[in-house]
């Protein structure tokens, strides 16, 4: 095994980790604020992919389309939250999970109706162009996706930390009852958080559109489980934890995939998942939220 191939695999894994980071960050804020384990999260990624496809067919490049895609998914997700999640927040957890699964069925079905079940790709003339960084070769699309993901994740983190609304979000996630007493409109915070969490997933989808061929079940098949692994690894509800966890899992999958072959790659993150659950269920950053 030579070092160059290893470095290449690590770099590719890290790039993918950036995308994992924002998917998982979306999932973790939703969990943090309303304790809902969102099984429809993968479908918001898929929606991001397909909406980017539609924008592309209207002549809009994938990167120009991203803000529109994010806004559309925000509205869709907020609608789902208002109609289906909010009424179930006081119900047993298994009900909420199954409601998100019902949502996931609906979105997959809708995607098949609108865009068909076949594999689709967003055409981009420079999709295969690449730059070299020492021994490592990275396509511009991957590099751009990575940098955008990091930038957006960073600004989200800053918002959570320093803006009034961000503080309200953290208050609502730590103690909804007290937050309500302090005059925070917890329902609004939950609605915006759900929308924003789904938008992060959609952004990951938009950034992946020129990289991955898409199909209606790609979200649940490829990205849901890694997102869960990362959320647990980075402590459930911890935003920064999800970002770091995302990069870590990306890196580990990249190197592990090279060493074990792609079919066993999933086993690595699953083993990490189980080990973290058993030995440090609070994740790497337990205690802090």
């Amino acid at each position: 095994m030579n070092t160059e191939i290893l470095l290449q695999a690590a770099a590719l894994g890290l790039m993918q980790g950036g995308l994992y980071a924002i998917m998982a960050a979306g999932l973790t804020v939703i969990y943090g604020v309303m304790k809902v384990v969102n099984f429809a999260h993968g479908e918001f990624i898929t929606l991001g992919l397909y909406l980017t496809l539609t924008c592309a067919s209207l002549g809009l490049g994938p990167y120009a389309a991203a803000p529109i895609v994010v806004a559309v998914v925000f509205i869709i997700a907020a609608g789902f939250f208002r109609l289906m999640i909010l009424p179930s927040l006081n119900h047993p957890q298994i009900n909420q999970m199954l409601i998100t699964i019902g949502m996931s069925f609906m979105i997959i079905g809708a995607i098949q109706i609108i865009w068909g079940a076949n594999n689709r790709v967003v055409p981009l003339s420079w999709a295969r162009d690449a730059f070299e960084l020492g021994p490592v070769r990275i396509t511009y699309t991957r590099g751009l996706a990575f940098l955008t993901a990091l930038g957006v994740a960073g600004s989200f983190w800053w918002m959570l930390k320093y803006t009034r609304f961000g503080i309200a979000v953290r208050a609502a996630s730590q103690d909804p009852a007290s937050a309500r007493i302090c005059g925070i409109d917890v329902r609004r915070v939950q609605l915006v958080t759900f929308g924003a969490g789904a938008s992060l997933a959609a952004l990951a989808g938009a950034l992946m559109a020129p990289i991955f061929p898409m199909n209606p079940t790609i979200g649940v098949e490829l990205f849901l489980l890694p997102s869960f692994v990362i959320v647990v690894l980075g402590t459930m509800g911890n935003f920064a934890g999800a970002l770091i966890g995302g990069l870590l899992i990306g890196l580990v999958e990249g190197i592990g995939g090279l060493l074990l072959g792609s079919s066993l790659r999933q086993l690595i993150s699953l083993s990490i998942f189980v080990i973290i659950l058993l030995f440090m269920p609070r994740g790497l950053f337990g205690g802090r939220t």
């Binding site: 009424p87 199954l98 647990v232 086993l267």
Partner: protein
């Protein structure tokens, strides 16, 4: 619980659990003539699948409903059972009549392992749930990479002639009888748990684990026992499923899609009830097949949208499942009579 004990004391009115058992037996008795009159293999298959879902639902009620554990990766037990039975049959020629109980035993072993690990490490609620999901995915990946079990292609069981010992029937009706047998057996197991001391212990542990522990109930131990029973039921059902469908692959018997289909049955029907899983199974399976038939083929997607929407609406309207509503109605009925009698 309080409602239950109250209605028990009412004169001349059987309690809710007994009513549920009677309803079960009536349903089971009605299925035999229905099966004999159903000519098409298609409707017969739907009926048999409904029964399998009912059995799976009962298993989940025992392992998750009664214990209060968030058992969302329930399909592991089913898949392990299916693979055990199918491997024993195709590789060693072991009759499914022996393979099915063995499948149940292996699945129960897996359930005990899952229970022992999670409860030993103090995993609760979400974490327990995620662990069970992870376990099912680990089984999926392992079987996808296991040459002996046919990797992604899975296992085929070829049916050529009628062979009782090999549980192979060209005419599908005997499968209905076997499924019905499993269904009645699972019901009786669930009933005796709910009726007996074990059910009370589980209820105490579910409602307040700490007080139950303080009262001397070994919470972890009884939960693991309940998981084992649940696993055994799911394992036997999985073994039968393999034999009945004659084809299994990892993505199917360890996949999230079938897993969630299994969970929906008891949740829609009623999580703590005996009658819930069969209401759920009879409401869901034929509906799913009907929608598939109506919008089949290319428009499979329309079915997904409608199915997903109906699920969400029913879970929102009936958070305790259909049986929860029925139970309230039944108890209210008693109360009215009671009031009249007092007057």
């Amino acid at each position: 619980m309080a409602e239950n004990t109250r209605s028990k004391h009412l004169k001349g009115k059987p309690d809710w659990l007994t009513v549920q058992l009677i309803a079960w037996l009536v349903i089971a008795a009605l299925i035999i003539p229905a099966g004999l009159f159903l000519d098409s293999a298609y409707s017969l298959n739907i009926l048999i699948m409904t029964l399998i879902f009912g059995v799976m639902g009962l298993g989940w009620v025992i392992g998750a409903g009664l214990t209060g554990l968030l058992l969302i990766g329930y399909i592991s037990f089913f898949g392990v059972g299916a693979y055990t039975c199918a491997l024993l049959f195709t590789k060693f020629g072991v009759s499914p009549w022996i393979g099915m109980p063995l499948a149940g035993a292996v699945a129960a072993g897996v359930a005990v392992l899952v229970g022992a690990i999670t409860l030993r490490f103090g995993l609760r609620e979400d974490y327990f749930g995620l662990f069970t999901i992870a376990a099912s995915q680990i089984f999926l990946v392992l079987l996808l990479n296991w040459d002996y079990a046919g990797r992604a292609t899975g296992i085929y069981i070829t049916v050529i002639t009628d062979d009782f010992w090999a549980m192979q029937f060209v005419d599908r009706r005997p499968y209905l009888i076997i499924a019905l047998g499993l269904f009645v057996a699972a019901t009786l197991v669930a009933y005796s748990i709910m009726r007996g001391r074990f059910g009370l212990l589980l209820a105490a542990a579910r409602n307040n684990p700490d007080s139950a522990q303080a009262l001397g109930i070994e919470v972890s131990r009884i939960r693991i026992q309940a998981l084992a029973i649940s696993g055994a039921i799911a394992g036997v059902a999985g073994g039968f499923y393999a034999q009945f469908t004659t084809f299994i692959d990892p993505k199917q018997v360890f996949g999230l899609a079938l897993n969630f289909d299994f969970l929906l049955v008891p949740v829609l029907g009623g999580r703590f009830s005996l009658i819930g899983p069969i209401i759920g199974a009879f409401a869901l399976r034929p509906t799913e097949d009907l929608l598939r038939a109506m919008f089949g083929g290319v428009a499979d997607a329309v079915y997904l949208v409608i199915y997903g929407f109906l699920l969400v609406v029913f879970i929102l309207v009936l958070p305790r499942g259909a049986a929860g509503l029925l139970e309230d109605r039944y108890n209210a009925l008693g109360r009215k009579d009671d009031d009249k009698a007092e007057r």
